[in-house]
């Protein structure tokens, strides 16, 4: 199994542990991730609300680079990159006017033929839960997790074609297979404030604080995410949330790849667990998932 891999900017900086753990998991399962050479930023939110054509041209440039790599589908871990790449593909397939303009900008023909998949989708739907189950060496028994999907993984459904819109379950299914207990909670697809992390921090603190509160109220000991922005808002900003709203949250926020890695018997140090600001090690030790010191 080979994929052209598009890490995205976050996975090379604030979400390094997502990149590390995704590669570790892929390695353990025999999925080959070939990084797209000289990839550029997908433009994220600022592009699509400033220059529409630019927000299509940047992903298309990456997809063209992936096409040169060989006849592979593109795998990406970041929910925002996933959404931008998929939306660009959709426009290039259906919208002739936009296709013409974008082709002129990037100087090549392209009509949306390079398929894009989220790494979660690859694991659950392509590799298969049954196959993962066979490779699990350590069940994460007793770990109650809230699976948090955020905005862009499932929305808009006609573009992402990934999961149920209001009540997605891919990550919950994966967590069940590796022995963790996903809690039922209503904030699976609420917004964390995402791109306002720097500009409107107050909004992010409120929205992310609400998410943490709901997860705690429903009995979750940790939150599992599939998006680097969700993770940074819930983890990096947790201290500030505690200060602002006089709370005492101490909820580790994992990437699904990290928990899967632990279940596959990969060492915690190779999954970037030490990079979180809310230290997850005490919880993992308490549950007997990693060795006690």
């Amino acid at each position: 199994m080979k994929y052209a891999y598009f890490p995205g900017c976050s996975l090379h900086s604030t979400a390094k542990e997502y990149d590390i753990s995704a590669r570790a998991v892929a390695g353990a399962l025999g999925i080959e991730l070939l990084e797209i050479p000289d990839w550029v930023c997908c433009g994220a939110t600022p592009a699509h609300l400033t220059l529409h054509l630019l927000s299509l041209a940047l992903p298309v440039k990456n997809l063209l680079a992936a096409k040169k790599l060989g006849n592979y589908e593109v795998a990406t871990c970041c929910a925002a990159c996933f959404s931008r790449l998929k939306i660009a593909n959709k426009f290039m397939e259906d919208d002739l006017e936009h296709r013409g303009n974008v082709e002129e900008i990037v100087g090549a023909k392209y009509s949306g033929e390079v398929k894009v998949r989220h790494f979660l989708d690859i694991l659950v739907n392509v590799f298969g839960l049954k196959n993962i189950n066979q490779r699990v060496t350590k069940k994460l028994s007793g770990l109650k997790v809230a699976c948090y999907y955020g905005c862009l993984l499932t929305r808009p459904p006609e573009v992402t074609q990934l999961d149920d819109l209001e009540d997605p379950h891919l990550m919950d299914d994966l967590m069940k297979i590796i022995g963790a207990e996903p809690v039922q909670w209503p904030y699976k697809t609420e917004c964390c404030g995402a791109s306002f992390s720097l500009t409107k921090t107050d909004i992010v603190l409120k929205l992310s604080g609400d998410i943490l509160q709901m997860a705690q109220d429903e009995g979750a000991q940790a939150i599992v995410v599939a998006c680097p922005l969700c993770q940074s808002n819930l983890d990096l900003r947790q201290g500030m949330i505690n200060k602002q709203y006089k709370k005492k949250f101490n909820i580790p926020v994992f990437y699904f790849t990290q928990l899967l890695g632990l279940a596959l018997g990969i060492e915690g140090t190779k999954l970037g667990l030490e990079k979180h600001l809310v230290n997850p090690l005490p919880l993992l030790r308490e549950k007997g998932i990693i060795a006690k010191r």
Binding site: R155, A194, L198
Partner: protein
Amino acid sequence: MKFFISQDIIKSSFLETLQKDCGEKVSHCYQCGKCSAGCPIAFQMDYLPNQIMRLVQLGMEEQVLTSKTIWLCASCLTCTCRCPREIDIAEIMDYLRRRAYQKQLIPLEETEIPLFNKIFLKNIELFGRLYEMGLIGMFNILSGNFFKDMALAPKMFLKQKIGIFPHRINNLKELRLIFKKSGKLAKAKRNRLLHPKLIILNLFRKVIGKIEGLK
């Protein structure tokens, strides 16, 4: 809210232009309010999303383009997915922001978000990939929040979550051509991506705010 709507406004072509440009039928909106009910940021907005739709229907371009709402929209797409009339409200918000850029209509408040977007894109144009240190530094200086998130910085360095130097891609020429051509085709002047007027206005407001805070 009370508005006086003149004949000129109602007869303006704003609604038609918008519907033609982004292919969304705003005229289908029957004001059920589902978009506003699900909007996570509605509590901060001056007009709720459904009110923006109504203002668009009535052709009230200036109110819409200078509203806080269009900049506060986080593009989470909840409204788009739930609209019973299948209007892509998030796309309309995008369109309105792009139009505000083109018309140089700077909102009276919430200038930080357009400023951030401009710095972000400039950053990509320079390096090809996001250079977070540069982005945060530039944003803090130009927005006047000099010491924002300084407490987080040492932790981020220790955990190697943020690099000191940018990572440049190899083929920057090709990338810059993409930026140039996109601006040209969209008929948006590129220097508007980082307009001094916006920055000075922003800094000025911050300094005034600080002085008033001291009193």
